[in-house]
Amino acid sequence: MNYPLSSFSYSFGAYAHYSNGEYPYVHQLTNNRITRINANGVKFGLSSSFFFDINRVKEIAIGGDFSLYLDKKGVPGAIEFPSYYATLQDKKLSTAITYQYKNNPLFSIEIDSFFSYSYRLWDPNRTSSNPSRFSVHENSAVSCALSLQRDDEIGEFSSLLSIHSSFRYDTLHSSDLESLNSSAIGVSDSFYRIHTDIALHDTFSFKNLSIIPSFRVDTHDIRNWDQSYSSLATHLSSNVGASLRLYDNLTFKLNIGSAYRVPSFDDMFWSSSAFAVGNPYLRSEHAFSFDVSFDYKVHKLISISALYFSNSIKDLIQWIPSADGKWSPHNIGLVEKRGVNGAVKIDIPLNSIIDTSISLDYQYIDAVDMGIGGASYQKKLPFIAPHIFKGTFSIGDTSQWNAEIDISYTSYRFITAANTKIAPHNVLINTSLLFSLTTNWILTLKINNLTNQEYYDAQFYPIPGIHGNITLTYKGEHKK
């Protein structure tokens, strides 16, 4: 069979990462210098992708990717609680295949299929000889999605219609979930979730103005294998967006709509341990949101964008400690979340070969608990940093190498819902270098937390200092 202008491209990659698990830190409460041990971390990954351009005239193509990830680390927990010798192992496998037929006379077609499997092994005490001490937590997911798109024009009016439908099947098996009948008993149980959705949106354009209405219906059905538990929900969400292009370099956008988020399997059925537990009775989040933004190309080398958003979220899912000290997710009655996001990018070509760029991103979020009747009413939501800033400097040539350094600032955040305590700000510097060894072989080095900053997550849990990883990728291409 003769396929005009077909090509086949592919890549393979592997990476390894190590972080040292023995490091000193200063205890935030007592200012004692303590050494953390048993927190070594090793990660290893493989990835590959391919893209087969079957027919460039008809734009028929098949693409896919595969990844494998292995991770083992010591997890002594917040301030060495629950166990001094706890370890966690993760294994993840995922693969996806996409079929496209874009230049179809009726609809542009895309079919996506996806499979993933993850396995987590929790060992509360690696020095113990008790063979039944382990907890095993396995997830798998299979999905298939169909997207149809059609572009029509009548004079100066145009319509870009998109129809999307998907089916997804998730499973969970865990050896150590909280029993649905008793919070004190651990049981082995299995769940599955079936999700279907259909979404419709259209982009109506007239000269520089576009209006984008969209609707979506989702259904979720969660059950355990013996059918003693079931939860069925249907959600309808809608949105209207508008985009106005003023001149060639300035675009304004506006969105108003509703959205929801179902709790994840981990939110609902996280394996019970001394440290954390899922909540099978979580409700879905529902939000009404509004945002307005602009993109402005100041100069051919300088672009600016800014966004303002406002969300009113009912039943926000947030992980917080409960009465017995275990972390578990809960629905927070009503949250008002507002913020701005701004970005600047400047490209600075040094000569005909070397390019540099500077990008600056800033985000401000104000999230407040508006659930009446609780002690956290009108308090800031914990674990959300109000200010995040990131500056990135990149330099490289177009084909062989690229180096990047970024500085990120994360401001303080409250660690209690009553806003009585904070985790302090941190400033981190990360670097990466990408180098093409040959036409096909690419080496990437990353070093994170270059200055070996001591900083803390939500519960004063010290994060390891400087660490890095190395990735080797092979890219190939055959053109006819």
Binding site: H27, L29, T30, N32, I34, P76, A78, I79, E80, F81, P82, S83, Y84, N130, S132, R133, D176, N181, S182, S183, A184, I185, G186, S272, A274, I302, I320, P321, A323, G325, I346, I348, I358, L360, G373, G374, A375, S376, H387, F389, G391, I407, Y409, S411, Y412, T416, A417, A418, T420, K421, I422, P424, H425, V427, Q459
Partner: protein, 367 residues
């Protein structure tokens, strides 16, 4: 182009100015100490509040909004009038917070060490510079010097069981319960007895309370030298699942040893509160996982209100943290409602007042 670069540098400089912008949380310090008050642990707020009994006012912070801070996952407050101190046992932080008892001003958080998870503490009344702490995760009894703020001795209980909880010192003897938790199941729990001497703690005996008994708390009835061990059992909010709570009563008058006297089948999933006793009438009130109050007579060893006919219950509450009995009223901390419930001893709800975030343990102080 130079101007652009200079502007970028200027913007980056602004970033580093943010380094000084962490808010400072003012340390709370009260001006007036009530004669009678109830201290309340705010488990989620990592702070405490207090209820002024005579003024009928609850204070969760100072008038300027400064909280009275303690550590994380506070299990217990202990009053030390001799040194004018209030201690908070912070299980998740592995620490003991020292507060000034009069002003509630934070003094210090003393870190105990890796992986301990301190559950309860008891001061040696004959040698008040020493306290005993049950290390839930480390399976130890820790002897702690309250003045030097350091660990003196660590004694493992591994050969008897695991996860010690309740701990009480009484007349030269130390008693601690343990629940033997394994794979989310309560094993063969019990009570350990140690004799306290100049040489340290000397093991006396290990008395089992039974598989699944989950003996979480206890107290000494000094009127008749008896030790009351409250066995919580399965500890679920669903009464159909968890109705195996008992109170095991031991006589300890002879060499501190336990001589079993009574076993009360009170049902539910009970928990003892140090200030939940009507001493005039010898009635012990118990909170229960599931949000209800049971009671028994500590003198006659009879159940007054079992889980099947509780004195008071609230269907909206999963957990009552603690109960305090004062002026014929039970004051109950409702964790999920962020409030204190005032219930007359006849079971009638009198009123509700707002507390801080996640009220749990409570203790009464009277000058």
């Amino acid at each position: 182009m130079r101007q652009i670069i200079l502007r970028v540098i200027f913007i980056l400089s602004i970033v580093f100015i943010f380094n000084g912008c962490d808010p400072s949380i003012e340390i709370g310090k009260r001006e007036i100490e009530p004669d009678r008050e109830i201290f309340v642990v705010h488990g989620l707020g990592q702070s405490i509040g207090y209820y002024d009994i005579d003024e009928d006012l609850f204070h969760m912070e100072t008038p300027s909004g400064a909280p009275f801070l303690v550590g994380s996952s506070q299990n217990q407050l202990i009053i030390d009038k001799d040194r004018n101190l209030l201690y908070s046992v912070n299980s998740l932080d592995n620490s003991i917070t020292y507060l000034n008892l009069s002003t509630l001003e934070w003094i210090e958080d003393v870190y105990l060490g890796v992986g301990i998870n301190p559950w309860n503490m008891s001061i040696n009344s004959d040698n008040p510079s020493v306290a005993y702490i049950s290390g839930w995760m480390s399976n130890e009894i820790i002897v702690f010097d309250l003045i030097r703020k350091e660990l003196i001795e660590r004694i493992t209980i591994a050969e008897y069981g695991s996860h010690p909880e309740g701990i009480v010192y009484y007349q030269g003897y130390l008693y601690t319960t343990y629940i033997s938790l394994s794979n989310n199941t309560f094993g063969d729990g019990g009570v350990l007895v140690y004799e306290v001497s100049d040489e340290g703690l000397q093991f006396v005996e290990d008395i089992k309370t039974g598989v699944g008994s989950n003996p979480q708390s206890m107290f000494v009835d000094e009127t008749n030298d008896s030790l009351h061990v409250i066995c919580t059992g399965v500890n679920d909010e669903n009464l159909a699942i968890s109705n195996d709570g008992t109170v095991e009563i031991f006589n300890i008058s002879i060499d501190g040893r336990l001589s079993h006297v009574s076993s009360l089948s009170i049902g539910g999933a009970p928990l003892f509160s140090p200030s939940g006793i009507d001493k005039s009438n010898n009635v012990v009130y118990l909170t229960n996982t599931g949000g209800y109050i049971t009671s028994y007579n500590s003198s006659t060893h009879t159940v007054i209100h079992s889980a099947m006919n509780p004195l008071y219950e609230d269907d909206e509450v999963e957990l009552f943290g603690a109960v305090t009995f004062v002026d014929d009223t039970l004051i109950i901390s409702a964790f999920s409602k962020d409030s204190l419930l005032f219930v007359h001893k006849d079971g009638t709800l009198v009123k509700t007042i707002d507390s801080g975030d996640g009220p749990q343990f409570m203790i009464l102080k009277e000058n």
